[in-house]
């Protein structure tokens, strides 16, 4: 397992680093550890021993931060969701029109997942397969992602926009395309989905012709 690559282990003993830094470093390591382990083995097959080993910390250290695998998973999931949200808003900031903002947000998210497909496995493929609280948490997160995408939707389009049920299908379908890429072993090519995804998502709101234009897909 190469989970802690890019996260150099702290030198042992008294390193003179402030405690906050050590805490943040260990938390980040545990996040990287659970992402690597769950994306490789699946949530239920992953053990706390594997997470700690991938993070390069002891089991005891794990329990210093989280009292269960589930708590560690959910905290890490929320960290990824927050990161995606910030990246999406930053990308959209330069755009004035709602459709272009949606396209920019999708672009930012797909870029994150292409750069590290493990994040997509961890945050999109694993939760519906885990059941229980993970799936429930994931359902709420997809609803929040939908709210983020439809934020700023012009009133006129909203009146004619698709129903909430169809909007849920749009976000569910978009995620399914990402998972399909992962299953095909093409995680690094998730970004290639951008034009199709933008068109599929926008068409029910602004019509197909306008959606194709925003998506930039050769029609």
């Amino acid at each position: 397992m190469t989970a802690s690559q890019g996260l150099p282990r702290l030198p042992p003993g008294r390193h003179g680093l402030p405690r906050d830094f050590v805490v943040q470093n260990q938390r980040d390591r545990l996040a990287a550890g659970i992402i690597a382990a769950v994306s490789e083995f699946g949530y239920h097959e992953t053990t706390i021993t594997q997470i700690a080993a991938a993070a390069g910390v002891s089991r005891r250290t794990f329990y210093g931060y989280f009292n269960s695998k589930e708590a560690c998973y959910l905290a890490t999931f929320d960290q990824i969701a927050d990161h995606l949200c910030v990246a999406a808003r930053e990308a959209a900031a330069a755009q004035d029109e709602w459709p272009a903002r949606v396209a920019a947000k999708f672009a930012a998210a797909l870029e994150v997942f292409s750069t590290n497909p493990q994040l997509a496995r961890f945050a999109l493929a694993a939760p519906p397969r885990a059941g229980g609280e993970l799936t429930a948490h994931y359902r709420r997160a997809l609803d929040a992602a939908l709210a983020e995408l439809t934020d700023g939707l012009p009133g006129g389009a909203e009146a004619q926009g698709p129903s909430p049920a169809v909007q849920q299908s749009l976000i569910g379908g978009a995620v399914a395309l990402i998972v399909q890429k992962l299953e095909a072993g093409e995680g690094e090519r998730i970004r290639d989905l951008l034009p199709d995804m933008v068109e599929l998502f926008l068409a029910p709101f602004i019509g197909r012709a306008a959606a194709v234009t925003v998506a930039g897909r050769p029609a």
């Binding site: 519906p128 397969r129 129903s163 849920q168 299908s169 569910g172 399914a176 199709d196």
Partner: protein, 214 residues
């Protein structure tokens, strides 16, 4: 109740003896019906064979005479639910007619089934992805089969304009996600509400192309 060995069974006089295969078939149905409620209520992972056995009111030995274990029981149940749903869809679209009418007819049948039997829908849509690699593979196959059926709406002329190539997969998986959300929240789908919206979502992208144009 454990069954007597064949050679100790009383001779059935004057009527056809019920064959072992028929008995077994009925017992399987009974266990699968009971298991549906248990899986839907507790979730696949929290369900135990003991819970299924007591819901079905059979012995543990009889259960293992019919199934290898919990996963095998779940897979048999999944296959049964999907086969019956596909049969119902097949009946609904057997009359032929326009492509878009057949798609809407198929959608109506699936939504009606989910509304009438939310436990079964929950097993097939919410629980199957959680039930291990074999169940996940079957779930993916079901989605792929439905997407393939939808794909018929495209023109044979590959150059004709249509939705992006990934539309069918996104539409089927997206519809499944909407149902997943409703069923997980304990709100069975309302056909009158969902059918018109979903029909438009699935069929409209083909407007003016392929089968839709004829």
């Amino acid at each position: 109740m454990s069954s007597l060995p064949d050679h100790l069974l009383p001779e059935a006089v004057g009527r056809e003896p019920v064959s072992r295969a028929v008995l077994e078939h009925h017992q399987r149905r009974r266990v699968l019906t009971a298991a549906t409620g248990v899986f839907a209520r507790r979730g696949y992972r929290s369900t135990t064979v003991d819970q299924i056995v007591s819901a079905a009111k059979i012995g543990v030995g009889s259960f293992y005479g019919l199934f290898d274990g919990k996963e095998d029981c779940f897979l048999c149940l999944y296959d049964l639910i999907v086969a019956e749903a596909e049969e119902a869809v097949g009946v609904a679209v057997a009359g032929g007619g326009r492509w878009e009418d057949r798609v809407v007819g198929a959608l109506r049948v699936l939504l009606e089934l989910a509304a009438a039997e939310p436990d079964r829908a929950r097993v097939a849509i919410v629980e199957a992805p959680t039930a291990g690699p074999a169940a996940q593979a079957r779930y993916s196959e079901t989605v792929a089969r439905l997407a393939e059926g939808l794909h018929e709406g495209r023109s044979a002329d590959a150059s004709a304009e249509g939705p992006p190539a990934c539309f069918e997969h996104a539409a089927v998986a997206g519809l499944a996600w909407t149902l997943h959300q409703r069923l997980s929240a304990g709100e069975p789908p309302v056909v009158a509400e969902l059918l018109p919206e979903m029909a438009e979502f699935v069929v409209a992208p083909y407007a003016g192309t392929g089968m839709f144009a004829r």
